[in-house]
Symmetry: C2
DNA sequence: GTCTATAAATGGATAGAC
DNA sequence: GTCTATCCATTTATAGAC
């Protein structure tokens, strides 16, 4: 994918679709790292190489913009692509190392969730999507008795680990080697996937 | 403890200590439910039955106010009171059922963390407190090799579970019985506590 | 389709009266 | 010890030019 950022932009003029996409990408990044409140329309616009006025023209308001961001960012189907043999290790590796191979990175949806937790409207969107698609899919891959509850437990562990590893970053995690974290997380996940 | 809220307050006049405490309680509630950004000094003051000017007089600034809220809410020492025999089960039970026996409830510090995750200053306060006291204390109770990393893993699991159970509330958790959740979480925690 | 300029609102902080 | 009134920075949103 070609680089599309603010500095020395190739002056993509009068291409509504590309502009809209650039705004969505910038908004996703801002929302994932700063949360709903701190993510300003001005900053999003600047990242996308446009002005705040244009963002509001396309998405109506700040809320409309981020509603669309959340809706398209939550899809975690790519995490469950192939064999469910060592699913625990597979998931652990993705969360520890950030999952750069995925569309928006595995980190993005988790950070979106975390940083939008104070926003009731965002929470409701998350719950709906989880119950209807993500957790259902995960439960199928896990299988066995109480698959639904255990799938939610897995998501809880992934969420909690991501928060500490990527947001709070306590010394213990910063000092530890990646493989040590993978081993510990994988073992904990296996206790639920088992 | 006598009721002390905004409506028809008993006109506690000129009692600095009580006023200060009322402000701290109100600030804790606001910060836990709304996060740093949405929690306004005006609203906190109104909840406590005073004005914003007085809040700033006591705590210097919004940041000073919430720094004190976080500092006193994060103390989780009471979770590790007695025997570390079945620590996993003990912790799981507290998080599943909310831990009403604790000072502010176990839920409050977790919600504080969750809802302030987008605020760099709040995050920094959390990390400092965790590294210096909470995680160190937890690591001592766990013991063994890599106690520091495993303590952080335990905190990650508790955090993640609390988020799903108390904030997102997916159907799978809402439907499940408490003891089922305790069993699953306890098993996962044991994988880290060893 | 995109910008500049600006209006309108919010919210944190301060000064000074009582 | 507490309030009223005000200042000031920030930020969303809009109007209108190009």
């Amino acid at each position: 994918m070609p680089e599309r950022r603010a500095s020395a932009r190739p002056k993509r003029k009068r291409d509504a679709a590309a502009t809209r996409e650039a705004i969505l990408e910038a908004a996703t990044r801002r929302l994932a790292t700063q949360g709903y409140e701190r993510a300003g329309v001005r900053e999003v616009a600047a990242d996308a190489g446009v002005t705040a006025a244009l963002v509001n023209r396309y998405f109506g308001s700040k809320e409309g913009l981020f509603a669309e961001v959340i809706a398209r960012a939550l899809d975690m189907g790519h995490l469950l692509r192939d064999g469910r043999a060592n699913l625990a290790d597979q998931l652990a590796r993705v969360v520890v190392y950030g999952g750069e191979d995925a569309p928006d990175g595995v980190l993005t949806p988790l950070l979106l969730l975390l940083h939008s937790a104070a926003e009731p409207r965002a929470i409701e969107l998350f719950r709906r999507d989880l119950d209807r698609t993500q957790l259902r899919l995960l439960a199928e891959h896990i299988g066995g008795d109480d698959a639904a509850v255990r799938a939610a437990m897995v998501l809880a562990q992934l969420t909690g680990f991501a928060i500490l590893h990527h947001v709070l970053r306590p010394e213990a995690f910063a000092d530890a080697r990646g493989e040590k974290l993978v081993a510990l997380l994988s073992k904990s996940l296996a206790a639920c996937i088992g």
